[in-house]
Amino acid sequence: MEKPKRRLVTVSQVNDYIKRILDNNTALGDIWVRGEISNYKRHSSGHLYITLKDKGGVLKAVMFKSAAAALTFEPEDGMEVIAHGRVSVYEAGGVYQLYIEDMQREGVGRLYEEYEKLKKQLAAEGLFDEPKKTIPRFPRAIGVATATTGAAVKDIINVVTRRYPAAKIIIYPTLVQGAGAKESIKNAIEYFNREQNVDTLIVGRGGGSIEDLWAFNEEIVARAIYASQIPVISAVGHETDFTIADFVADLRAPTPSVAAERAVPDSHELKAGLDVTLTRLESAMGKKIESGRLVLKRFRMRTPKDKIEEYYLRLDGFSKRMEHALAMKTSENKKSLTAAASKLDALSPLKTLTRGYAIPVRGDGSVIRGVADVKSGDEFSLRLRDGARDCIVK
């Protein structure tokens, strides 16, 4: 029997043959391949070596340094990507591989890329810059742009009504994810700015994935927040979530509850402060009345008894009015005589007695002490024991 004729070729010829087949194939000359990166290696030469894989198998790939320079991200094992290039043969290695010309992230990765891109762009435009508006300390009304379902709106309402029930809350029901969300948020912000019916805006939603929060990374939302005349507090997701809305807003809160806390003061603290104020008023007033009594004591010897009685009565009258205003007892306070004397010119008996029972007083309540203090035509009030009369100096 004759042996069949064998075609004898070299290794190089085989490789070359396959290479020519692949290189002549139009489809393989320009393809986009989706796969997951594995065995990623950046060679010292600057070239990148990747094994793209999917459920069915693997495809070796290389991206030369020049092409890799244009990458907008650092490849990592596990990343989903779309690699664009051509398939050919690397003869020296005896493999076919994808020569990658450009590559982009796919899925969630693509969202991150878009986020970084927009963030850079808006930062360059100055949308994140200081000065931010200060959040009003005592808002009469707060606007809330969020969904009417879910925990966020409830948290905000609970915190505000607990801390500062004086503030009114107006909720603009907003879509916070999915189609129409970015327009909805923009509309809410623009509504409050048009109506000017709130002092502060809280814009946000509860926690979720990057896709869920995506509306707050949209450009039109960022621009609406930037354009807002009303200060905006952003409250998107959880502590670790940062959206572009957070960078543009006048204040970023890690959660809706914290946003509410920052939007209003604490009533309990304010009331405690008011109690202190009342004590200070009472104390200051009490001191003045006591001073009056001390001065009168000092001049008792040199003053007719009935006149002294008169002034004591007057001070008692002040005390009573004070008590009435406070509905509580006045406090006893000691004060130095010198200080008291200088403050109580109006009651100084020596000065007023030369005029008998009357004290001439200017419109601002200060006492006219001598003839040089007034001129012809000046108006004043003559304080008598039982009232006052308007007078004009002749």
């Binding site: 005592f138 500062y164 029930p165 008023l281 200051a284 009345i289 004070m322």
Partner: protein, 77 residues
């Protein structure tokens, strides 16, 4: 709606009164007037803080306009 002084304005005025009253150089009559005004403001501010009337509104679209309605939190989620 702003015919009365705002809460903030009242607090500011109150602060001024306390300073003036504690400062001295004010006649006794004026002191008493300041004192009475101070107490009045304090009580007014306390009253504002104690307001517990339900003030949570939600906007609903009605004939193309946004109208305020009382908000009732949904229970189901």
């Amino acid at each position: 709606m702003a015919k009365t002084k705002t809460f903030e304005e009242q607090l500011t005025e109150l602060d001024g009164i306390v300073k003036k009253l504690e400062g001295g150089g004010v006649s006794l009559d004026e002191s008493l007037a300041l004192f009475e005004q101070g107490v009045k403001l304090t009580k007014s501010c306390q009253k504002i803080l104690d307001e517990s009337e339900k003030k949570v509104k939600v906007l609903m679209s009605e004939d193309g306009e946004m109208v305020e309605k009382d908000f009732i939190a949904q229970q189901n989620d």
